[in-house]
Symmetry: C2
Subunit: 403 residues, 2 copies
């Protein structure tokens, strides 16, 4: 579904969108660090933000923009999270928006602002001003790769995808860039995801779709259980495709919804798989729960367990740790009804470990992608959580950095 | 308060108690692995057990014993957790009690049973039978050190302490042994703590004291957030001191309570400090919360954060990660009222990082014991959580072991 060509086109793939990424000197490494995404047609905007009480300044500013329902641009930087920066931080986030607005000739409250990087440090606004101006001057249909690279921190690669579908006889395009990695690492904050589409869709429907989809995609990943101060998912829908505006939950909406869900799930999986120091991508399929929430809670309990994560790093089929994490999830469990499988091989059932084929299980554990299936046998609700293992590299990345 | 002499005397320090630890061949290492603690006078017994749904067989058996209110003995082994072992596991746990009862000439339901070690493997009951017989034959007032060593798994040392106080004109003694380490590691399960006292105290009061104290001691430690299938804290009170039996919450009870609390807190701290691969002992003092539960939740959120734990391993004063973990604890926080200190040095206040003395803070971070103080500024409730850092060694211990 997501081709390499589409990945490169990214957020500038949908009609009417341009993007750019430039070096402003905010990252110590000297890499790209300021991104701008722009749509000439004012877009309907939807957003989902971190629930961390210490939400960063750009989160506060962008929530207000989403509240207006429309936007023209996103301006983002990496290298400095502008979090725990008080009044000055808020002023700087607003200033980022006003610099972008001035250069893009749009209103300040039409500019979404996002930051990721070191916590507790103020943005260098001189560098930001020059960077934003430079980025605006470089906006193009080929700018998504640079924009994507400008928002990464410890990610090993920039996540992006794009696709096209047909709605009401028109081609409707979607594009996205995202970053993840640790949640706040070398003092870094954040998961950021920016999605563009030329679909015409009512803003309230767009927001409700994004909120629902975030619950079952980005909110189903756990790298290390930490929720950052800067997390943000934004969708801009500028209507340039010319499809009949989607104003109710009809067949067109279903098409739109499932495409947006595929994009978010794809990016969520890429973020989990590229977790700090990860050597394994773990898919935790919880089945047979009494509610979705219960299934998710069991999956998250397993996904967050350092003992489970280190076992998979060591390629050890340690089902005892999985069962244990299920057991303390807080959800009512019947041990005798619980079945645990690693890559389709049952390892625990009827209250006991199974006699499995050692060679076959060894092969499962040696793979990069491993599916842990947990059937609770209690109901009809499922949830899938994405995670990764804990490696020496995780400790190195997070322990050896000095502020 | 807890001298080296007392530590050696341990659970056999109070009048009427004897102990022993022997090699039965359950641990692959060939180390001591079966312990028996005995009191001739039948003791009142209290217990607190794991809330893990997959509680091990010995937990089920011992809960019944605690339900009877009295006991004569504790029999415990390391090397095999007898968890996820179904019907056979229950039979084996009962058999452990019956072998001990036969040799000690007491009733089977007067014997507490505990196990720690590999999950999903059955006990070798031939070895256990020989081991229990051998341990009973070796019971002595000098047996606590061996008993303590027989219950450890990946602990780097056996935890023990003892003390004496005066109640109603009589000397009343207390002793204890405990093990901790990872919660379930190299497939190992468990925190075990056995406390003996010659105090005369009503069983219901004893249970209520232990339940309350466990909440603020053992339940305040987090090594890695995993709650094992085998955790158990047991107190035996045999009345041999001859003090007037404590039957109400009077001054005698207060003395008893505060001593028991000191013992549990001391052992909880030792367990946290000896967490798997730990290089730092972290005390997280949360103050100014609206409730004790809120304070505890904030403390646990910080204690469990892998990003906080790796930062302290790296001696990095990364207050951003602490603030972030406070922010996603689920407790209502007012960032501007929150103050974070590392070893008395404020690092975050008024919504901002402080300008601290680098050299002084470096000294704090370089120490083995570090106090993280978090004042929420919202109320009058405090909670103290004990934790440790995450090191390469943790990943090594938990990732390199193969079942």
């Amino acid at each position: 579904m997501f081709s390499e060509e589409h990945r490169l086109a990214g957020v500038a793939y949908p009609e009417g969108f341009t993007a750019a990424g430039v070096r402003a000197g905010i990252k110590k490494s000297g890499n790209l660090d300021v991104a701008v995404i722009y749509t000439e047609n004012r877009a309907n905007v939807a957003g989902v933000f971190t629930q961390n009480t210490f939400a960063a300044a750009p989160v506060h500013v962008s929530k207000i923009v989403v509240g207006t329902g429309t936007a023209h641009a996103i301006v983002a930087n990496a290298g400095c999270a502008n979090a725990c920066t008080g009044e000055q931080g808020l002023k700087n986030a607003e200033k980022m928006a006003s610099i972008a607005a001035e250069n893009l000739k749009c209103r300040q409250d039409d500019v979404i602002v996002a930051s990721t990087g070191v916590i507790g440090v103020n943005l260098d606004m001189e560098k930001m001003e020059a960077g934003i101006k430079n980025a605006v001057s470089k906006l193009s249909r080929e700018g998504s790769v640079n924009a994507g690279n400008a928002i990464v921190t410890t990610d090993t690669y920039s996540k992006a995808c794009a696709t096209a579908i047909e709605i009401g006889g028109k081609q409707v395009k979607f594009g996205a860039i995202a970053k993840g990695s640790g949640m706040i690492q070398p003092n870094m904050a954040t998961m950021l995801c920016f999605i563009t589409t030329d679909a015409a869709i009512d803003q309230k429907l767009l927001q409700s779709a994004l909120s629902e989809i975030t619950e079952v995609s980005f909110n189903m990943i756990s790298i290390d259980g930490d929720m950052s101060t800067n997390d943000m998912v934004i969708v801009l829908a500028n209507g340039a495709a010319g499809n009949p505006t989607i104003t109710e939950k009809n067949a067109d909406y279903e098409k739109f919804y499932s495409t947006l869900k595929n994009i978010c799930t794809e990016l969520a999986k890429k973020i989990a798989s590229d977790g700090e120091g990860a050597t394994k991508f773990l898919t935790i399929d919880v089945k047979g729960a009494e509610t979705f929430e219960a299934a998710k809670q069991v999956g998250m309990s397993v996904a967050k367990s350092p003992l489970v994560k280190t076992a998979f790093f060591g390629e050890d089929p340690n089902w005892g740790r999985v069962v244990c994490a299920v057991g303390y999830s807080g959800i009512k469990i019947v041990p005798e009804k619980t079945v645990v499988k690693f890559g389709n091989i049952p390892v625990y059932e009827n209250g006991l470990g199974t006699k499995y084929d050692d060679a076959a299980l060894k092969k499962v554990m040696a793979a990069h992608d491993i599916v842990i299936e947990i059937d609770l046998g209690l109901g009809n609700f499922d949830a899938t959580v994405f995670s990764c293992d804990f490696s020496y590299e995780y400790v190195k990345i997070n322990g050896e950095y000095h502020t």
